[in-house]
Amino acid sequence: MRRTVAALLAKDLALELRTRESVPAMVLFTVTTYVIFHFGLDRNSVDGDLAAGVLCVTLLFAAILGINRLFVAEHEQGGFDGFLLAPVDRTALFVAKAIGLFAFLCVVELVAVPAFAILLLGPSLTQALPGLVAVLLAANAGIAVVGTLVAALAIQTRARDLMVPLLALPLLVPVVLGASRATAPLFAAGGAGALAGNWMAMLALYDLLFALIAYAVFDFLLED
């Protein structure tokens, strides 16, 4: 399984480096959205709940772009058949795609979070950073697991671009809720508070739950 996951990941990374279809689009989307918020809210800075909400919701919408493209190469260039003809555990495809999406989200956030801090965030990012990294990693895991499952479902339909947001957004509400509630104290106006442990736990539980669901059903999604 590890060998297969590594092969799939290396292939996806090579494809992304050649085509630059997902990550640059996601980065551009997040930065543009923060610029729009900057002018749209008519405020120089935000903090607390509002800051956490703007950060997390924007990252979620950026993730939708990546989720939409997750299986496009497999679908359009025969990658599904090539994979299904190999004597490998089919769950490896789910694991590789989820890890790939997780990595893409992390790269996007390396640009998006500093951009958010510059364009919108009032309180210091430095104080909030350790907690924020933990929240974003947990949120990325949830988005990657749910997103991969949804992308595998949607790619089989003709209205893929419509199906992904329709299916993913409701399923990702708990992730956004957990992430933004956990982040809000970190962006408090008076300085970073403690990470909301209960929301982090909820986020981790949701990640685990969906990882188990995906593990159980992914094979069936690949059946004709």
Partner: protein
Amino acid sequence: MPDSEPAVSLRGAGRRYGERAALRDVSLDLAVGQTLVVFGPNGAGKTTLLRMLATLLRPHAGEVRVLGSALPDDGYAVRGRIGFLGHEPLLYRELSGRENLRFHARLHGVATERVEVVLEHVGMHRRADDPVAELSRGMVQRLAVARAVLHEPELLLLDEPLANLDPAAIARVQPLIGASSGRTRVLTSHDPVGGLVGADVALGLKAARVQWLAPAAEITLAKIAALYA
């Protein structure tokens, strides 16, 4: 698999796409090392038959056994023993031929050295680092042949395998996928003369049904032409 067991065995096999039957009631046996050539007009069910044998489609009726394993339940056991060459090359356009073959080699647990061997066989070693998107259709087909035989499969499923190939390329790939490869083969063809070369058994399909199934030596060109009438 016992020696006496056929490499491919179908009993009343069928497949539907929604309400439409793509293949009905196909029964045949193909011994190890033999070649079955399938003729039939577009939409006759040839590709469906190959994809079913390749474990890519589930049979909706009857029994299908490939290399001693019942499909679809034991599909896992035969996947690595089948080489499938369909209409699509199953290669990523943005990756080079070598990168594509190395990827498939890793999936099949094949040593990287084997990639260079098959590239040499199909005469693509000089263009192996070019992206597939920049290659001609014939070159892509040669890479697809290399991909199909990379893991040295026992059973070859070939959907019009010589399409887009020039005579020199055909001569290059024959030792890999031709009768001289020694492998059990199921291939589709629209070429009545070329298709029968090296074939042991011939199957005529039309409108998802078997029209005839006979030793290749007994099949006349007129019989094949009648399928397309």
